[in-house]
Amino acid sequence: MPFLELQNLQKTYPDGTRAVRGIDLQVDKGEFIVLLGPSGCGKTTTLRMIAGLEDPTGGQITLDNQNVTHLPPSQRDIGFVFQFYALYPHMTVQKNIAFPLENIGTSPADIEAALNRVARALGVEALLDQYPRQLSGGDQQRVSLARAMVRTPDIYLMDEPLGTLDAEHRLELRAFIRRQQLSLSITAIYVTHDQEEAMSLADRIVVMDGGKIRQIGSPSEIYNHPADLFVANFVGSPGMNLLNGQLVQHGDSLTFTRPDSDIHIPIHANIAPMRSVLTQRHEDTKTQSSMASKQVVLGMRPEFIRPANRGIPGDVILSEYQGSHGYVHIDTPIGELVMRSTDRFAIGEKIHLHLNETHIRLFDPDTGTALA
């Protein structure tokens, strides 16, 4: 039995907006799940439905063997961290953190002990007598985390908790959240639009778009084997290079090409199942040509492209330097490519590129889904 289960979860607002269009997800105890997607993809609505802050219009939520679909937040055992902290402005830090315990009738001595424990863990001991407005954004979010962690709820829900913080505090708190989660075996669902944050925190990432799940998988699965074009483009900074072209079979070999160029990229045998896709398609369309072909999108991460003595020719049109490495934009006859490189190139420089064949991904241009 999964600890948390969402079954065909849906939310349609009274104005007809379908924010969430049927989500199925199973979360095990102690797992760190990140809901990742662009703004408006339904990730926050999903999180708020799990919390009970939004009432689902369809589907079911099961938490710890209990159907909680329509229960108010107070009857679910959850901790929630809001994007904009949601600290009580008229209470001191101490009162803010103690509030959840006071509401469940914890004794003053136990409140004191719990307060000291989380205040130390989150480094807010010196702030206990201050009011939220006197604190920086980072400190406010620490207090907000402390308030969520002072109880030990079944599950922690975090809605872009680091979204408003500056880079320095973001990295620090991110590492802290993950350490706490691992050491206490906390079950957590974390919403973000920042794919880097998702990669570094998650046991599993749930990529969402348009109110639906696009892919569920470990960070490396999501990164290396994106289920569709959306995931390929959204995950990674910059995203995958995506080239439109044709997959062509000549006897035993497969190549990727474009009609308007004489460049042929050999497709490695690891995409052998492609052949069957190709033949099926061939039979369906009853093409009599001896040469089977299919429109595809070729995907290639920037780090699997490298400069070579020969290969795809191109002109450097932009070079983004980022310290340890850089991203070079190259105009080639098959389209613009972004290459990750530790070497630096001048704009206008003519180079040749080699694509690492084992890392080529192919997608169906019509459905967007990954082939084979």
């Binding site: 008229h90 509030f99 959840p100």
Partner: protein, 294 residues
């Protein structure tokens, strides 16, 4: 044509300044001067008589009665208006069908002229032909003499004031309630706060600075209560004579300008004292919550 900045500056500020001096500053100081004289509207030589007027005030039983009447009126009116207004605001907080219409209807009494309302209520509460007593007679109930019974007169004026000014409290309270961000209620729901806890520890404290402001405005206004008294019982009724009514009686019926002026100074001092206490209190609450002081 070019006008020098300096000249222009005075050109802009000048009219307002002249208005302020002519209608506020000068009358205030002239009033203070008059309060130390024996000036009468009927004429005659005006003489400085020192603080004798103030001595008269504190020996006058009409003054102590009016002070008590005004105090009772202010406390009962403002407290009832606050409680009713806040309750109405809480009821109107969440959207429901017909809310805009109901809100508008509730605001009507506030928009009418107090003097006109006083006259209307005079008819409505009239012991013989008033609508209220007519209605009571239909059910065979006791018909109180709302406007002539000495024990009821002040209560009747109080009711009219509450009817008129509860909407004002409601309006300010609604503004206060709407200013509380929804995510605080969400956080409180997550933190398992009961409805009563949410009201007591979130809604009330966050609303209170605005409520205090409304109480301040209503208190200073109620302290000056005159028009309803004038319209319902007249200014010289012992049971309903407020400080302002007494001032009117002394000054414009008794023609004693000097004595009347000293009454007005006393009223002014009471209002200023109460207002500054309230303002300090509001500022201290806001400072505690880390807000910018008003």
């Amino acid at each position: 044509m070019r006008v020098k900045d300096g000249v222009l500056k005075y050109g802009f500020v000048g009219p307002a300044l002249i208005f302020l001096i002519a209608f506020n500053i000068f009358p205030l100081f002239y009033n203070i001067y008059l309060s130390f004289t024996d000036a009468e509207l009927s004429g005659g030589a005006t003489q400085l008589i020192g603080g004798r007027n103030y001595g008269v005030i504190f020996d006058d039983t009409r003054y102590s009665t009016a002070l008590r009447t005004t105090g009772l009126f202010v406390v009962l009116a403002v407290a009832t208006e606050l409680i009713l207004g806040f309750a109405l605001a809480l009821a109107l907080q969440k959207p429901f069908w017909g809310k805009p219409v109901i809100t508008t209807i509730l605001l009507v009494p506030m928009m009418l002229s107090p003097a006109v309302m006083g006259l209307y209520w005079n008819f409505i509460l009239n012991g013989h032909y008033g609508v209220v007593n007519q209605a009571l007679s239909v059910f065979g109930l006791f018909q109180p003499q709302w406007l002539t019974d000495p024990d009821l007169k002040l209560f009747s004026i109080l009711m009219i004031d509450i009817w008129m000014w509860t909407p004002f409290m409601m309006l300010i309270a609604l503004a206060g309630l709407n200013a509380i961000p929804n995510h605080l209620y969400e956080a409180a729901a997550i933190d398992r706060a009961s409805r009563w806890t949410i009201f007591r520890r979130i809604t009330l404290p966050l609303c209170s600075p605005l409520l205090f402001l409304a109480v301040l405005l209503r208190t200073t206004d109620a302290l000056k209560q005159f028009d309803l008294v004038m319209a319902v019982t007249g200014p010289n009724d012992r049971a309903t004579q407020t400080l302002s009514a007494l001032l009117y009686q002394v000054m414009f019926r008794g023609y004693k300008i000097g004595l009347g002026s000293s009454y007005s100074i006393v009223i002014l001092l009471i209002v200023i004292a109460l207002a500054s206490i309230f303002i300090r209190y509001i500022a201290s609450i806001q400072a505690k919550q880390g807000r910018e002081s008003a």
